[in-house]
Symmetry: C2
Subunit: 647 residues, 2 copies
């Protein structure tokens, strides 16, 4: 097999690969995270690179303009290596692999939310801190010729005497430490006991008295990002928390592209996806434990919540049947599994609990989120929407809960939008447009030049385009305005609005909103709204009966209510009905980690929810089509928008 040397600039990474390899794969192998929300199908146009030197073959694409092609741009996913190459990776093609930009801010917020969640629970219900692990300090009598039982029998005898514990299983890893830990510590030791699968297990043995140290991890496995909290299991304090991209993003932006990717290469890709998410989590763990000065071995319990696909990729169970009718996941209730099976940086004998799934598109992130939201204990009729890479909705109160998933796609996180990007440095996050001049003003995350536009920015710009008359209620740009910011492509006849000129941007390309983008975004918001409507109507109710709207998920923290109502993403009800509850999946993981009652509760919640499969639900398609207007076909349902539009 002929070998080729591929050099990536500006990072200067060099890798030797076989001639004929796919350039996107080559970049992944070199550890360069090129953005490819479509998973390498050639349809998103995000993985653009410039071939500075060398030969490639490439497939035809409409994602690049003739000018771009002339400048040497190629789609990495559609290009194969034919010789030694020099490849330039433009900044906008890179996934930020490091921390999400507003880490400090998010961390503060997350601390607040989690501490609040805990305090509220303790106040409201007298929640006991009762994790599934505990520590026991033992001072043993050293053996002698008359009392010569084995080390393990000696420990069991002491547990019986001191703790009234009759039966305990000793894991092999603890057994291997036993002899020397006992003798090097004058027969004074601390056991970590874990309660799982109907057994009490000795999962660790440490010298001396370490009962003041007991740690766990709460994890949210998002499609786009993972968040991890290091928790003191003795008092519930959040010691550290951190988040990062889920490294799987280089294999596709949404669950469907991940599933397709996982199905290729006979299980190799599935395993690669498993490794990538574990790598993302492990990097956060290592960073946190180093910061705090504990050993990963001290992590004794782990709870992870993710959507059904993320859970299955974490478990490395084949997710194909999530995508195919009748949409069946491998597991809903995942039993606790040892950390060693995941290769997580923690005590290998610690148990990992995955929050239960309800169905293929309503997963553990939602059951954990509902747990955190408190819907299950409240009379208030609540609409809960998790707007992340997917959109999941729960409607109900403590007596009943309906749930569904909307095929919202990745538009809220910038997917399938020409200049869309995630809420990271360089993302335009807020926009206003002058009603007269139609000139925009925007703010950018991280105070840099703009690179693209994120979900909240998109909501703003669409709302503003509607209110300033740049776009009509069908999402069509008003060509007649005849301003330089409105351009029409002669060939396709499609129009676009220029939000930022090339000279203002980091990428030196205009940042625009095209009619294709508008279509995509309107479909996404329409899917969410009609999903909510269908759930509510399935109970014979309407939006006016909704007493509370909880918005969770990545988009939640940047979302403004008014523009969301204007575009018809959120219903037109009183502003004070809305609350943003942040990463409720993480908060749920945290509560389950701290309390065995909460674990029982989240399983009850999963069992209690009635799942509505929208794709086959009568009336849903009509409802969806009616939502493809701004704000909606039925303007009467949006009185304040009607007012703003002056109709």
């Amino acid at each position: 097999m002929e070998k080729c040397r591929v050099t990536f600039h500006p990072m200067g990474k060099v890798i030797e690969v076989n001639k004929g390899e796919n350039l996107l794969n080559v970049a992944r192998k070199a550890g360069i995270n090129i953005d490819a929300p479509c998973g390498g199908k050639g349809s998103c146009g995000k993985c653009r690179v410039i071939i500075e030197k060398g030969e490639v073959t490439t497939q035809p694409t409409t994602e690049l303009t003739p000018e771009e092609k002339a400048m040497g741009y190629y789609l990495a996913c559609a290009t194969t290596v034919e010789s030694d190459l020099e490849v330039k990776v433009p900044i906008e093609s890179l996934v930020e692999t490091l921390k999400i930009v507003d880490a400090a801010e998010m961390k503060k917020k997350r601390h607040a939310v989690l501490e609040n969640a805990l305090e509220e629970r303790i106040r409201a219900e007298g929640l006991n801190i009762s994790p599934n692990v505990k520590k026991v300090y033992l001072e043993l009598d050293p053996p002698n010729l008359d009392d010569n039982i084995s080390d393990l029998e000696r420990i069991k005898r002491a547990l019986r005497g001191q703790e009234n514990i009759d039966d305990v299983y000793c894991t092999i890893n603890s057994m291997r430490k036993l002899a020397n830990t006992l003798r090097n510590n004058d027969w004074k030791i601390t056991l970590t006991l874990s309660n799982a699968n109907n057994n009490l297990e000795i999962i660790n043995i440490e010298g001396g008295n370490t009962t003041d140290r007991l740690y766990g991890l709460a994890i949210d496995i998002g499609t786009t990002s993972v968040a991890v909290c290091l928790v003191n299991l003795l008092n519930g304090a959040v010691i550290e928390s951190s988040s990062a991209y889920n490294a799987q993003v280089t294999c596709g932006a949404d669950v469907i592209s991940r599933i397709i990717y996982a199905g290729k290469e006979e299980g190799k890709n599935l395993n690669q996806l498993r490794k990538l998410v574990v790598k993302s989590i492990n990097e956060l763990i290592v960073e946190m434990v180093d910061e705090v000065g504990i050993s990963p071995e001290e992590i004794s319990s782990i709870v992870a919540s993710g959507n059904t696909t993320m859970t299955q990729l974490f478990l490395a169970t084949d997710p194909q049947y999530i995508r195919l009718e009748p949409y069946i996941p491998t597991v809903t209730y995942t039993p606790p599994i040892k950390a060693s099976n995941f290769f997580l940086k923690a005590n290998p004998e610690a148990y990992v609990y995955c929050s239960p799934n309800v169905a293929s598109y309503v997963g553990g992130d939602i059951t954990a989120g509902v747990l955190a939201s408190g819907i299950w204990q409240s009379e208030t009729i609540t609409l809960f929407a998790d707007l992340g890479t997917n959109g999941e909705i729960v409607f109900g109160n403590k007596d009943w809960m309906m749930t569904c998933a909307c095929s919202a796609g990745p538009a809220f996180e910038g997917g399938e939008i020409s200049h869309g990007m995630r809420a990271a440095t360089g993302a335009i996050d807020h926009v206003s447009i002058d009603r007269t001049s139609r000139e925009p003003k925007y703010t950018v995350i991280g105070e840099s030049k703009p690179k693209g536009i994120c979900g909240s920015g998109l909501i703003d710009v669409i709302s503003e385009m509607l209110l300033s008359g740049i776009m009509d209620r069908r999402g069509k740009i008003v060509r007649e305005l005849n301003i330089p910011r409105i351009r029409v492509d002669e060939e396709s006849g499609l129009a676009e609005y220029v939000l930022a000129w090339a000279e203002e941007t980091e990428t030196n390309r205009d940042i625009t909103i095209s009619e294709v983008d508008l279509d995509n975004f309107i479909r996404a918001k329409g899917a969410v709204y009609s999903g909510c409507q269908t759930l509510i109507e399935s109970m014979g109710m309407d939006f006016s009966m909704v007493e509370k709207v909880l918005i969770a998920g990545g988009i939640g923290s940047h979302l403004a209510i008014e523009p969301s109502v204007v575009i018809g993403l959120l219903p037109d009800i009183a502003d004070e009905s809305f609350s943003f509850i942040g990463n409720s999946s993480l908060t749920g993981s945290y509560l389950i980690l701290l309390s065995q009652e909460m674990k029982a509760k989240v399983e009850e919640i999963a069992a209690q929810m009635t799942y509505v499969e929208l794709s086959v639900y009568p009336g849903y398609m009509d409802s969806f089509v009616s939502s493809l207007f701004l704000p909606h076909t039925d303007l009467e349902a949006f009185p304040r928008v009607k007012n703003l539009l002056g109709e």
Copy 2:
């Protein structure tokens, strides 16, 4: 670090190592199994090699004669590599790494013993075949949009309906197979369910109906050899059985040298020993499953019995404290542990059960052996002796059992005997000496020229030397006979008897029995006899009250009663009292594998046995010293020997 190339002849293996490395280690790394019963301490003189070319440094030794030194002989364990080397490994220095010679014969015997054991149990007690695993065949309803529970919930529902099984844990490996096994087999599958640690677990999932295939392994982990039986768990049939050297023998012949070896190199050696025994077992497994045409994944349950040190090395728990007063093992009752933790070639989720130990020197091989012997259900007062690399004794009946371990050392298997070797090809196994001419006749295992002498040959030759007057009752050779076969070393004054002249032997060296050998062997037999005596006397009884003597272990199968009585290894009671029960540890493993009652029983046996620590038992030392005569100081206790000696 300077590198040296070491070439081993006649095998032609070449290895590159650092200058200064120990030559015995180098040979191990090259996969050449040089015999080193002392574990590389320089005291046994077995690891002799010839340096044909190159430079070494070596430590002074008395294990080589000046002539041997002149011929280029070195002890590998005392020699370090200083340059490129050409090393010849004489045949007598090699451990046979392949099968023990009389495999076919042993296999036949083992089948007979095991089948007998089973049939006897079934007859005697109506033993149910009740392994800890079973298979369940399910035909599931395929899912549809109205019945869209997850794959695992579907299986659980079917188990509840069909098998009345309420709760089952699904292992991660089974979970990973679930989706595709169901769909590729038209929703008809077979589960393997394992019962361990209070849980029912799905340890495998196969397509179609495989309920007619369920396999397990019974293993004996001996210090010298490992034996494995592949068992049909549905009917108890022994499908295949095989044995081989425990590859640990290259690190020392007896448990003490293994423990010392394990204690070096900060855990690396311990892990190496674990790997070596697992390698020996895995090689047998692969050979057997290939022969029979099953997949290692179909092995669903495993029972292993070994002495306490072998068990701990198998578990990789530090065995140092077995050797140090007060002689404490890490575990007596080892909980069931997954095969994946051992890297055994079997279903990784299958459980491995290790037979319980009683104390540091009475292990799972003895509890399993006692289970197989039937002592626990018999009124007959029985003496059970397992004469392998160590000597363990049990005395009792169904109401009480005493047990002890004798520091017999490895003499019965040829250890610490100048020309001693194991019962393999080239071993002299039977000897007679003409009473007048004092000329010997011998037989050799495998019809080859003799290379050395094994345990049964040693017993014969010592008995014959006594009866023909070559040696007196103290084990001193009678120099006055003045025959060529008796030689006296001028320097040391020690005598030896030449059993085979160099020209008759495979090694071209005389095979002799020296007074040092006699001393070592007499100490070994004295330890066993006095151990038996002490146990019997501890119950206020004497040898005349022993109704049955069961002899188990490697030596048992070759042992002749009369010469054993003559040298005072066995008591002088009626010949019909003695039975040889072969590898009772393996038979015990087999019974436990087949029956959960037998597993409960072996734990009862371990709890019931009273362990006597001979080293601190009053009167034992006197008893031992009295046994250092042939047959014994007290000739009156051996009437038939008294008669044979004409006294």
